[in-house]
Amino acid sequence: MDALLPPLLNGTALGALLLLAALGLTLTFGQMGVINMAHGEFIMAGAFIAYMTQLVVTSSNISIVLALPLAFIGAGLLGLLLEVGIIQWMYRRPLDTLLVTVGVALILQQIALQIFPAQGVPVESPEWLDGQINVLGYAWPLRQVFTIVLAALCLAALAAWLKYTSFGRRIRATVQNRDLAETSGIPTRAVDRITFFVGSGLAGVAGVAASLIGGTNSQMGTQYIIPAFLVVVAGGVGQIKGTVIAAWALGIALSFFADWTTGSMAQVLAFVLVVVFLQFRPQGLFTVRTRGLT
């Protein structure tokens, strides 16, 4: 048990971070079919917003709390800009959205590199996150607990929003049958924009969490985008419960593999694991049943 507990807890925290990064993708990729490779750069934007908030509000205790909504709005606006400027012309060409957003990602990285120092910026964690809590004899850093709580809150809010609000109903209606939704009087274009805003905003929130755990620099987005997409693919596109399970499983797997071998070998093994998993569930954990050809 002593050897199993630390990777289990660390893996859960890593899974929570992956979940935060992937939640936005379940909206933009899963619900709208847009493959947004700039999602990682929205995470980066969130992290830099956390840093800038800290420059204005010097007390790190408060700034991190302020940074969360600011990062949500900031990254969301970036996403909105992307949707209105580029993506809206490309809904009929899903694979091409991938290429366009690769270009956007390159440009955003370069902008960040020119504004902020290349070696990255420090985001101080608040004092109330400095401690550890004792879990069965293992000192679990509070920062990891914070990530898990944040991920759980975002998850609950998103799920409730999709399920219980009239707006969530409209999103689901648009996803299931765009033409029918439109004829029923739902403004599908506006729905698209708000979905994209929320999906990108969640990346900003993930960025704040990421800034407390890893470095904040112009390249940080590239390290989250692939695992986040793997989570969405393994979880089943557009399925929030699948994303949750896949994120947690991938986080746990990564930290156990890293424990047994090395951090880089863990990435290779995790990739193999996902490919093997897709042999059994090519559509991911949960699928939407349709009569369409897959």
């Binding site: 490309m90 009929r92 290429l99 390159l106 370069q110 020119q114 692939i226 693919v233 490919v275 897709l278």
Partner: protein, 367 residues
Amino acid sequence: MTKLKPWLPLIGIGVFAVLLLVVAPAVLSMHWINNLGKYCCWAIAAVGIGLAWGRGGMLVLGQGVFFGLGAYAMAMHLTLESAGPDSLPVFMILYDPSASLPAFWEPFRSDVFTLVAIVLLPVIVAGVLGYALFKRRIKGAYFAILSQALAVALAVLISSTIRETGGDTGLSDFKYFFGFVLDDDANKVMVFMIAAALLIVCLLVVWQLGRSRFGELLIATRDAEERVRFLGYDPANIKLVAYVVAALMASVAGAMFVPIVGIITPAEIGASASILMIAGVALGGRASLFGPALGAMAIGWGQSSLGSSWPDGWVYILGLVFILVTLFLPMGLSSLFGRVKSLVWRSRDTPAAPPATTAPVLDEVEK
């Protein structure tokens, strides 16, 4: 004109061959020969991407992994050859004077094994991965993401194993290329000629595949996979062949890249390098014969000249290439010729042929 038309691509390849193999060595300075050799390597990989992506519809975002397999196989051989028989590569001794050669290096002492490995390694990796994915009908974005994940995984693995592979510093300082001294100008021209000839061979292969029954099936699979399946073919096998051929070309490109450039690092095979390969193909025109090769050469030129003299601006240009080409010219610059031609000839010709498929029709219906 009509009799000549099917042979036009072949004539084009011939002209290209004369330019690369006869004119270039006679006209260009050593510096530019070396650069052109580097662009040829990227072009070889791009020709394969054109086959897999342009004609097969598989967005191969991780060709760097096969480029890397070929490159590292070649680099390991050249490192051992430079070190001499029974001795260790210099970097290994630097890290640990008492180190012994890792077991997987040993066979690369042999010329024959290295050449076989450059061909077989990518075929095995692409074959296994492609079989696993295509048979389970994993396609589109899923396939793209997974292929990029593989490239990232290999790059991370290599950069973390400093003692075995040289890590981030990579492998460099090659003195011999299968017995030839690499520092000699005549031998450099020879290496360039091999790369250029391989590019011509790859173009010929793709041209021949394109006009064969396989080529028709490949395009049919791209445009309407279900219909191909209902006609009794297995789309998975068709895609697998195209993917393996593309992987093989990327590996050959990587293998030639090493003696020409003189260094291979994980940065040349990771996500951003793979994306750079895609950029050239998208710019040139993914479904055309020459588009990928010429586009890759253009991007290669930009990367090595602008990329070093004006690195900040180059990234913006690269980003804009992706955005503008995808938005306005999904079939790349080569489709411009078709558009201009149809504008000019519209009055006297029969209606222009429908543009090369932009979006698979059936896929839209499914969604």
